[in-house]
């Protein structure tokens, strides 16, 4: 299923489910958001204490398990690691912080646009520029180095944790925190959320859909394959929103969004830039983490820690905008990611 049809279907299913999950109870314009949902998971296991965004999102667990199951079935479960894990960890933290300043991962960015949230346009501009600059670094020899086959057990750890967290979601033990109000308290029934996650996990693994890869490939090798998925998500989410009356165009008063245009742009710039260096957007990295890529598992943990930092130190944006700490963190992140990128090029030229 690696032809055009596969990528269109994947985008369509993500778009449809993204719209429908809102109908089933997920926060508005947040049917699926990899960044927000990883942030909610970080909160539910107590990594941060922002009371309104703590929930064990079954969608994310479904992505991991869906990718794991289909990769196993298709003989693509391959356990690798050792490609600059600590650089990946740091870049991933900043990808998450950028996303939480914008208030959404690249996937939610498209879903927000499909819901009429025009602030997402600034996010897209920043994201595209970030991806193009990251691609420029790739063209100039940036690499995090090659990975190697590692002990198979390492590949089972994250899917194992996903199953454990899923049990916690169903049993709801006292030490797992669930928001009582706010976006964290808005969720679809777990069985629906999990099913949606599994379906998307399977399709995304097969089609290799990636938000950052779409723009990157179009620029780098004039290949429109992945960008079609990006467009397909938008079209189908838009249709669902129109049907259910969830299309509400404008800048002001959009759900889980702010109108601070510069920081919408720069936040997503950081996310796009970092994502290209990592080799994929948060959705793609989560899928890779499920299919045995332990470098992507490290990236996933970087997202978790980045989300915890974002909420523990007031970096994440809110509906009222971005605070000083958040602005500082985005600029700091752009500098750190640039330093990592430049040093990699220099190191590889000498090697």
């Amino acid at each position: 299923m690696n032809d055009k049809k596969g990528i269109i279907i994947t985008g369509a299913v993500i778009g449809l489910l993204g719209g429908l999950l809102v109908k089933f109870g997920n926060p508005a314009n947040m049917g699926i958001c990899v960044a927000c949902f990883i942030r909610d998971i970080a909160g539910s296991i107590g990594l941060h204490r922002a009371g309104v965004v703590q929930y064990l999102r079954p969608e994310i667990l479904g992505f991991i398990l869906g990718a794991f199951i289909i990769a196993k079935t298709k003989g693509e479960f391959k356990v690798t690691g050792g490609s600059s894990p600590i650089s990946r960890f740091v870049i991933a933290m900043f990808v998450m912080i950028g996303a939480l300043v914008f208030l959404g991962c690249p996937l939610r960015m498209v879903l927000r646009l499909a819901g009429g949230d025009w602030n997402a346009i600034l996010g897209i501009v920043g994201f595209v520029v970030g991806v193009l600059i990251g691609t420029q670094f790739l063209k100039n020899g940036f690499t995090l180095g090659r990975s190697y086959k590692v002990n198979k057990t390492s590949g089972y750890i994250l899917p194992g944790i996903a199953i454990l967290l899923l049990i916690f979601r169903i049993v709801r033990p006292g030490f797992i925190i669930f928001s009582e109000s706010g976006p964290g308290a808005a969720y679809a029934p777990w069985i629906i959320a999990l099913s949606a996650g599994l379906i998307i996990g399977i399709l995304a693994q097969r089609s290799r859909i990636c938000m950052a890869g779409g723009i990157r490939d179009l620029y780098l090798i004039k290949d429109s394959h992945l960008i079609i998925g990006f467009i397909s998500i938008f079209v189908f989410a838009f249709i669902v929103n129109i049907i259910f009356g969830n299309f509400d165009p404008g800048f002001v008063g959009q759900p889980a969004a702010h109108t601070d245009w510069l920081w919408n742009l720069l936040g997503m710039f950081l996310t796009g830039f970092g994502s290209v260096l990592l080799g994929g957007c948060p959705l793609r990295q989560t899928i890779l983490a499920g299919e045995g890529n332990t470098d992507s598992v490290v990236t996933f943990i970087g997202y978790l820690v980045g989300a915890a930092i974002a909420h523990n130190f007031g970096l994440a944006a809110s509906g009222s905008g971005v605070g000083f700490a958040g602005k500082f963190a985005v600029i700091f992140g752009i500098i750190i990611v640039t330093v990592i990128a430049l040093s990699s090029i220099k190191y590889n030229k000498m090697a």
Binding site: K78, L138, S147, R208, C210, D223
Partner: protein
């Protein structure tokens, strides 16, 4: 013949390495690209076909492939 080893490189590095190697090819020239995973095989193959090359895939076993890319 030029051999490019892309094993273990994350996406899209195998494609970039192939692109750099293919750009110097004259009509009828070939390169060999060593590939370590399914996704890279698809991506490199698609790139090479889109840029006017013939692609011959040799399965080396153990999830490794060797692509023989010839400029048309």
């Amino acid at each position: 013949m030029l051999k490019v080893d892309t094993r273990g490189r994350s996406c899209p590095e195998p494609v970039i390495m192939t692109k750099n190697a293919v750009s110097d090819l004259k009509k009828g020239d070939s390169i060999k690209v060593l590939i370590g995973e399914e996704v890279a095989k698809e991506n490199v193959g698609r790139f090479a076909r889109n840029s006017g090359c013939n692609v011959e895939v040799n399965n080396k076993g153990n999830e490794e492939y060797e692509l023989l890319i010839t400029k048309k």
